[in-house]
């Protein structure tokens, strides 16, 4: 996706609450702002951590929702006002950085554990880690309050406005998503990002050139842990708390579904997939009964994977590519027949 298209999408998202207000009654506009777009953004951030790893490193990890959950639990355990108070007492200004640090360290740890695995083995090892953490949270009462989880994580008051205000929540989520998305696009053009892409294409050659493959892999998982942690802080505030269900198998697979629907070939796929997922999740329940949602999203998933293995973003790129002979930002191929 070109820079111009990204900026257009950003402008649209900035104006979205106002535009929705023009066409919908106020309560519905608010619902769309917070519960469709806002939700799509915060889960999109978690999915971004996966599309970053997959697009540039070739790593598909099932532990990204778990890393988000580690940030969410760290926040819920530390922050003032959470119920039950486990440690408590910390203001958001201290608890949020601590939560992000926890997710980043956990990401580095996942990277170190999985450093020699690829493909299906990487998927299995990250799945095992994810399930292990969810089980632990479920069975530990002292730190995680077991099955019930921790409630009442409402977010700070910013500029005199409570965080749960739909517009404030939406714009904070949008600012975080835009900053992280831009950060990913910056990072992948740095030497670190180029080496990461080299590892994706040919790890043996990267090592032969003198780079430390393991170090770069672990660092990439640390970056993904930080991104997932930002998503985890916001999803926890969105859900007003966290419980083992929000980091279980279903939640982890949902992040994978979001990323695959959007497309694992570009980081923007995370947000496209997340929006589609949020819309289906919200409205399929009213069209159908709740249980059929999984069937429906499963069929959508299958349809997209069969029609376009690189998701909606890949499909859009190919459609764009049919119209334009060369990629965005590229010189058109020289045409020798010009003189004739």
């Amino acid at each position: 996706m070109s820079a111009r298209l990204s900026l257009l999408a950003l402008a649209l998202l900035v104006l979205a609450p106002a535009l929705l207000g023009l066409v919908l009654p106020p309560n519905q506009a608010q619902f769309w702002t917070a519960n469709i777009l806002g939700r799509a953004l915060v889960y999109g951030i978690v999915a971004l951590s996966l599309t970053f790893l997959a697009t540039y490193g070739g790593f598909v990890s099932l532990a990204q929702m778990t890393l988000a959950g580690i940030a969410g639990y760290a926040l819920a355990i530390l922050v003032e006002g959470a119920v039950p108070g486990i440690v408590g007492g910390l203001p958001y200004a201290a608890a949020v950085p601590a939560a992000l640090l926890a997710a980043t360290l956990a990401g580095l740890l996942v990277g170190a554990i999985a450093v020699r695995t690829r493909d299906i083995y990487l998927l299995m090892i990250t799945l095992a880690l994810a399930m292990g953490v969810a089980r632990f949270a479920e069975s530990n009462i002292d730190w995680f309050n077991g099955y019930e989880g921790i409630r009442n994580v409402v977010g700070p008051v910013l500029f005199g406005v409570p965080f749960r205000d739909p517009h404030l929540f939406y714009y904070v989520a949008l600012a975080a998503a835009a900053a992280l998305y831009a950060g990913v696009l910056y990072l992948v053009r740095t030497p670190f990002g180029l080496v990461l892409q080299g590892i994706r294409d040919n790890p043996r050659r990267v090592a032969a050139l003198g780079y430390d493959v393991s170090l770069h892999r672990i660092a990439a998982f640390g970056v993904a842990g930080f991104i997932a942690g930002c998503g985890g802080v916001l999803t926890t505030i969105y859900n007003i708390g966290i419980s083992p269900g929000s980091i279980g198998l279903g939640a982890s697979v949902n992040i994978l579904i979001i990323s695959v629907i959007g497309g694992l070939g570009h980081p923007a796929g995370a947000f496209v997939g997340s929006l589609i997922f949020a819309v289906f999740d919200t409205f399929a329940a009213s069209l159908y009964d709740r249980d059929r949602f999984n069937t429906l999203i499963g069929l959508v998933f299958l349809g997209i994977v069969l029609a376009s293995p690189d998701g909606i973003v890949g499909l859009a790129r190919r459609l764009g590519g049919l119209r334009r002979p060369s990629r965005a930002g590229e010189q058109p191929a020289p045409r020798p027949a010009e003189t004739g």
Binding site: T190, P191, F192, G193, L194, D201, L209, D212, L215, Q331
Partner: protein, 251 residues
């Protein structure tokens, strides 16, 4: 007589077994600094394995390797790269998802300190400038921004050589650079090889005599893992052992 400077490469009794197979056996070889050496031989003679031993991709099972007098037998491959051994691979090992320039830039930076960095290179970045100069020199400047996956076979070969040159090697080892090239692309490659400075020592594995012989000072012919003949290029065609290998039992 002036004192003989240390040879660029000095292999003593080098050998490598793969289980029961003795892929390289008791090879003793001296390549002087600045020399052009061609290594010929039928398929399976052990040429690529010999390259892998010199570059450190696989350890030898016997013998020693010295590089300008220093023993490098047990150094890991990237340390040898930094000392000044550049190589290309018989089957391309490029980064297909990255542009030509990014491939060269990664190769340039691999030889530098501070390889782990999250600072984007600026316009005046010396490594980036060097990558651009290499693209120019390899006649790839017009496709520098293209993804490698879009390149023709000949352009991929040129990029391979460019990446091997990126770390300023003293010894450049090319494994079948002409393999798969169309006849029209071969003169371009030969011109490129002949244009390399004499400060560079060149070791060349090549099937195609039309490329190998004009580019070399000394030719080594291998068969079944061992050296069969070592002679100047003008005597190779008429050498009875070489004729036997290439016309008789070899094929």
């Amino acid at each position: 007589m002036p004192p003989d400077p240390a040879p660029a490469l000095h292999l003593t009794g080098i050998g490598r077994r793969f289980g029961a197979l003795h892929a390289v056996r008791d090879v003793t070889l001296t390549v002087a600094a600045g020399e052009r050496r061609a290594v010929l031989g039928p398929n399976g003679a052990g040429k690529t394995t010999l390259f892998n031993l010199v570059c450190g991709d696989i350890p030898p099972t016997e013998g020693r390797i010295a590089f300008f007098g220093a023993d490098i037998t047990h150094l890991p491959p990237h340390r040898r790269t930094r000392l000044g051994i550049g190589r290309t691979y018989q089957t391309s090992l490029l980064f297909n998802g990255l542009s030509v320039l990014d491939n060269l830039y990664l190769a340039v930076r691999g030889g530098r300190p501070g390889r782990f960095s999250v600072r984007r290179p600026g316009r005046g970045d010396p490594d980036l400038a060097r990558a651009r100069a290499l693209a120019e020199r390899m006649r790839l400047a017009h496709v520098a921004e293209r993804p490698v996956a879009d390149l023709s076979h000949g352009q991929r070969r040129q990029l391979e050589v460019g990446m091997a040159l990126a770390c300023d090697p003293k010894v450049l080892m090319l494994d079948e650079p002409a393999a798969g090239l169309s006849p029209g692309d071969r003169p371009e490659l030969l011109a490129l090889l002949k244009g390399l400075p004499r400060s560079l020592t060149l070791v060349l594995v090549e099937h195609d005599m039309d490329v190998a012989l004009p580019a070399s000072d000394v030719v080594t012919v291998m068969k079944d893992g061992a050296i069969a003949v070592e002679a100047p290029p003008d005597r190779i065609g008429s050498d009875p052992v070489v004729q036997a290998i290439y016309l008789g039992g070899g094929h």
